[in-house]
């Protein structure tokens, strides 16, 4: 789909894959290497997260042990669902894991959900307001997915050390899985295993959503009579993907943290 007629296919795609960036060194729009903030990712994710928090805070404020209202009902279903997953996996009491999992699930789902909005809808509005670029789906920004997975990784390290102590965690790194004799091999294996966790976690989410968005972009380039058919099918399929990816991210977070809590035998 070409909005200006002169626009080419590749520039259309590239336009859609370009973040709205703020160069912190010059305080102007544009890429400034590391010292850059992706404004669209930040703003949309914060707006969506605040939406989630406000909705749930509303439910929490009015929370009653009597007959629950609609919002509370919804919040309770979500919390019950998350709690069930946590209880099934987690055998230690940890007051952080439930809220963490809930936040991840709902927030990631909302951000993924932006993928279902018509691909040009928000960028066009932004364009008419003078904003040159807008990537609507924050989870297609690798910065965000890495931010989530690194936070989870830090929590894994924190709980590993907190539960097992420095020596316990060190011993686990050094002796697992082959014992003292093969210490270097153990160390390498274990390090790869640990570092693979955040990378796989973030790249899985990023990859799925990025690919999904890309296909929406490609569908948008097709002739109009084919667009709604393929777009419809892909969107319906994508409903599954966005929920599934949010769920997987939450589930793996729970599993990784539960592993951090348990002694290796």
């Amino acid at each position: 789909m070409s909005e200006h007629g002169t626009i080419t296919t590749s520039s259309y795609i590239q336009h859609h894959l370009q973040n709205l960036q703020l160069n912190l060194k010059t305080m102007s729009l544009g890429n400034g290497g590391f010292w850059t903030i992706n404004l669209d990712t930040m703003i949309i994710s914060i707006v969506l997260g605040s939406l989630f928090l406000m909705l749930f805070r509303l439910a929490a404020k009015k929370a009653t042990a009597g007959v629950p209202g609609k919002i509370q009902n919804f919040a309770e279903i979500m919390i019950d669902f998350v709690n069930q997953q946590v209880k099934d996996t987690f055998h230690v009491t940890n007051h952080l894991i439930g809220p963490l999992a809930l936040t991840i699930f709902v927030w990631v789902f909302l951000m993924n959900f932006m993928d279902l909005l018509p691909i040009d809808f928000l960028p066009r509005i932004a364009g008419s307001l003078g904003i040159p670029y807008l990537r609507v789906v924050p989870t297609t920004d690798v910065n965000l997915t890495f931010a989530l997975s690194l936070s989870v990784f830090l929590l894994i390290l924190f709980y590993s050390i907190k539960i097992k102590g420095f020596s316990g965690f060190g011993k686990e790194l050094a002796t697992h899985p082959f014992g003292w004799k093969l210490l270097p091999v153990n160390l390498v294996l274990k390090l790869v295993e640990e570092i693979a966790k955040p990378i796989s976690l973030s790249l899985r989410l990023f990859g799925n959503l990025y690919a999904g968005e890309l296909i929406f972009i490609l569908i948008a380039l097709l002739p109009w009579w084919l667009q709604w058919a393929l777009g419809g099918v892909w969107a319906i399929f994508h409903i599954l993907i966005i929920a599934l990816q949010a769920f997987i991210f939450m589930m793996l977070t729970i599993v990784y943290l539960s592993m951090a809590h348990e002694e290796v035998h």
Binding site: W35, T36, I37, A65, A75, G98, L102, A147, L148
Partner: protein, 156 residues
């Protein structure tokens, strides 16, 4: 893939969101849910207890009803007996009183008869005396023959 400061910004955002959920969202709702669970459990237990109580009360009522019936029957029995007794007693008393009254009347009649007899005797004797006086007036001194007359009167 261009990693930039957004990463850090998002980590901070994420931390704040999780903190907020942990502090202000999760506890009230889970507390409410737990409390509702407890309330429902309590309610069910109370209902069960109520059912059992009702059954017990039902049994008690039946028992009391039976007791009351037995008591009422015994009361009626007693009352009937006592009634009979009173009637019997009254009859006895009446008979007694009647016979006493008859006896009194009889004795009164007897006394009356005796008195009448005496009076009659007196009058007869006076009459006899008067007649004798009249007869003997001429020849007899009443004082002389008084003992004879009295003797006669006694034999009468």
């Amino acid at each position: 893939m261009n990693i930039n400061l957004t990463l850090l910004g998002q980590m901070i955002t994420f931390a704040i969101f999780v903190w907020f959920t942990l502090k202000y969202v999760w506890p009230p709702i889970t507390t409410a849910m737990a409390e509702r669970n407890k309330r429902i459990a309590d309610g069910l237990a109370a209902a069960e207890q109520g059912k059992r109580d009702l059954e017990i009360a039902h049994h008690k009522v039946l028992e009391q009803l039976r007791d009351a019936k037995v008591q009422a029957a015994s009361l009626i029995e007693q009352a009937t007996q006592r009634g009979n007794h009173i009637v019997e007693e009254a009859k006895e008393q009446a008979r007694h009183e009647g016979s006493r009254l008859i006896a009194v009347a009889k004795s009164e009649i007897e006394q009356e008869v005796i008195r009448a007899k005496q009076e009659l005797q007196l009058q007869v004797s006076e009459l006899a005396m008067a007649m004798a006086q009249k007869i003997l007036q001429r020849e007899l001194d009443p004082t002389k023959h008084a003992d004879l007359i009295n003797h006669m009167l006694k034999e009468l």
